[in-house]
Symmetry: C2
Subunit: 116 residues, 2 copies
DNA sequence: ACCACATACTATACGGCGCATAGTATGCAG
DNA sequence: CTGCATACTATGCGCCGTATAGTATGTGGT
């Protein structure tokens, strides 16, 4: 599963997904793999975590889905809505404030690791 | 309340509390104020968030409590247990991996803000 | 030809925890 | 003496991670 303990993922997970979708539409399974690879396994999450998360983001109007039947197997592509873009911008600011606050408590990673 | 949206606090809250207690024992109300001041309001949390969190950390054996009746009003002081120190060390590593992963997705704060 | 594995999505249910709300009680300041 | 700060306790709602289970098709190996 993920290297990240459950509760950490609550805040970070949805933001990470929205951030991925900023580049263009993706389908669920693709997102699972992208998170695994792009974050070196740290933000890897099972299907049972991602799919409900997508349904949730859709219910909140942050993403919309589209079925694609042209391939060998049907895929459900998700993309950001304008509300989703707003949400991503807000969450990005929140995330940065949070990392700054945690840093103020002495929990920041070492400076030389910033561009890890 | 907090500047941090609820879900972000799930992972960060307990770690922040453990980190504060690393310096020495503190009582609940003091922790609420310290988080407010030391993180510029970002990690501020209400009593209704902190006290149950402390009970929870205690139930897990990460902190122990001691009543102090010497002051004008009774205070319940909490301090880290050996298990709590281990947990803090683990969570610190987890937190750093998480920020690195989020950074890899383009969600890091700008480098010049690292020492904010 | 067959079997295992990867792909891709859906459904259900449990449990943990943030947080709102409410309540108790003492000290201090105007 | 009235109100605000201090300091802790108790209860319950609701969200969401995630374990588990189920369905179904494509693909690679022997």
């Amino acid at each position: 599963m993920s290297l990240i303990e459950g509760e950490f993922l609550r805040g970070a997970g949805p933001v990470a997904v929205l951030k991925l979708l900023e580049r263009g539409e993706m389908y669920g399974y693709e997102i699972v793999e992208a998170l695994e690879k792009r974050t070196d396994g740290v933000l890897a999450m099972g299907q049972s975590t991602l799919y409900p998360m997508l349904y949730n983001l859709e219910a909140k109007g942050f993403v919309v889905a589209r079925w694609d039947e042209s391939g060998p197997r049907p895929r459900k592509y998700y993309r950001l809505t304008p509300d989703g873009k707003k949400r991503l911008a807000e969450d990005t600011r929140t995330w940065r404030r949070l990392t700054a606050a945690m840093g103020a408590l002495g929990l920041a990673r070492t400076p030389e690791a910033v561009y890890a």
